[in-house]
Point group: C2
Chain length 317, copies 2
């Protein structure tokens, strides 16, 4: 008889919601989602997590559960389980791992959320057979995780993979981080929206203005996508620009770490039909000729919303 695979718990801790799941071998057996209420402070968030865990454990004996893995927003120390700095939780040096371990009498480990998602792809997803890959998430912001020599790369202060903040042009647009010309300022959802708004301000004609009812706050990714569907020139140019900058950044990642594959995920993938051709063309143009031997360079990540949760659970699977 094959040995039953272990049960483990995974948590996706974000600034707005907390998802908790009881998992076995990459499958979520039970999942709950609660609002984080980060403003209520650390103790309150801990209570929400404990409540969520209780729901999904659902009568299973804690001794049958191998451990709890958390993917959290922010800069994490995976050794101590401390959240060093997480702006959207408003936490600094928060003892997340140890507090939960004590309360639950379980082994607990904490990872940065993008690295947890990367672990999920490595164990159960589209990075399963890869020893060297980058998992890039393009949404409101841009982040990434690397697996090299078969291992997650954390970096010396646990901030490896901040691809959103590589500088594409020192004279480029200002990024949320304060620097100029970061990839995120061009190729994230926010970067794309800002470009469209700037063009509209210059008086450029576009269907987007009409769809947004002339309100700048309505100029969001899905609306730009809708305009692109109708062949709107500004919308298509804005998405194409995302492809250009992503292609250049992916080429540089490829040149630096020589991965088998780059996985791509996040909300921007909703517009993939528009930006992927330009992205791949630009990428191929800039990678080393020896590296481009007609092989598949980029693949979509497997997991969408559950990646972080599954990656947390994977730590103890």
């Amino acid at each position: 008889m094959a040995k039953q695979k272990k049960l483990s718990l995974g948590i996706d801790l974000g600034g707005t919601k907390i998802a908790a799941g009881l998992c076995r071998d990459g499958e979520i057996l039970k999942k709950v989602i609660f609002p984080t209420h980060a403003a209520a402070g650390f103790d309150s968030v801990i209570s929400v997590i404990l409540g969520a865990v209780e729901k999904v454990v659902d009568g299973h004996d804690h001794k049958d559960i191998a451990g709890l893995g958390i993917g959290s927003a922010g800069q994490i120390n995976p050794v101590t389980g401390e959240v060093i700095y997480a702006p959207n939780l408003k936490w600094q040096n928060a003892p997340l791992g140890s507090t939960l371990a004590k309360a639950l009498k379980l082994k607990v480990q904490v990872l940065n959320d993008v690295r947890a998602a990367t672990l999920a792809e490595h164990r159960y997803g589209n990075g399963r057979d890869l020893e060297n890959f980058a998992n890039i998430f393009v949404g409101t912001g841009i982040g990434s995780g690397f697996v090299l020599n078969g291992q997650l790369v954390h970096g010396s202060t646990n901030s490896a993979g901040e691809i959103g903040h590589i500088c594409m042009d020192p004279e480029g647009p200002v990024c949320g981080c304060g620097n100029k010309g970061c990839l995120e300022a061009y190729a994230s959802g926010t970067g794309m929206e800002n470009y469209v708004k700037a063009e509209l301000k210059k008086g450029r004609k576009s269907l987007i203005k009409e769809l947004a009812e002339s309100k700048f706050e309505n100029v969001r990714g899905p609306l730009i996508g809708k305009a692109a569907e109708q062949g709107d020139e500004l919308a298509l140019a804005a998405i194409d620009r995302v492809g250009e900058y992503l292609g250049l950044a992916l080429a540089n990642i490829h040149t630096l770490i020589n991965p088998e594959m780059i996985l791509l995920g996040g909300g921007m993938m909703a517009l993939k039909q528009y930006f992927m051709p330009t992205m791949l063309r630009t990428m191929k143009k800039h990678i080393l000729p020896v590296a481009d031997q007609g092989r598949e360079l980029v693949r979509e990540a497997r997991f969408e919303n559950d990646a972080v949760l599954l990656g947390g659970a994977a730590i103890f699977a």
Copy 2:
């Protein structure tokens, strides 16, 4: 009595010369250098290596030697010891490791030369206490090796670390690889020389013209350095430009792999007094604010000419 450290052999195999050394614990006990005569073909180069090994082994019993490690130019398969492609040796799929192992009855391993140098820094040099660092070599070309999680990063096809070919500007100068705007086209010795030549062609006044006796082939790094010493504006601008581009590239490496330190070596270091201040200022301007906490970001590599040889020997030390 402390156990005597093992003897091992290291070889630096380049397109013009072969250096071989008998080493113990990072010290070279005996070293010889022979011309490669690459044009004479694979068998001839093997003979040169065997002769060099014989010289340095110098009466020691082969059974007292733990193995032979080679740092070779080109793309190497470290598992099979094959030189996949080395333009300056004119080799393709050359069975370097197995041929030497058979002839010498020794364990033999082959690494790419920059990675061998990185291993030397990790074991015996300025990367000794580091788990995550980049070792960047700026000379005629620009290459690098990464140690992450305490291990050398090879990449999926053994071409990781090709930092010389990250694209700094898709509309930039043409690089030796055929692409446009590679770091190497700006910040290598060759890139610096090309910039000076282009400015001279435009009629820019400079002491360099006089020092080079109006011959373009004399416009080389040391001569540009001599002009800089005398305060020549073009020479100083050319070196400063190296600092700008290196600073930007180093910032991006820092953002991506979050190393404890970046080591810098190679012929360009002869001009460090001129380019380092600009390089560090540019780097600090572009790394994530959270990453720059006043700590040392860049350190000079320890080994110069012997890095590759020592790295080869380190494989079996």
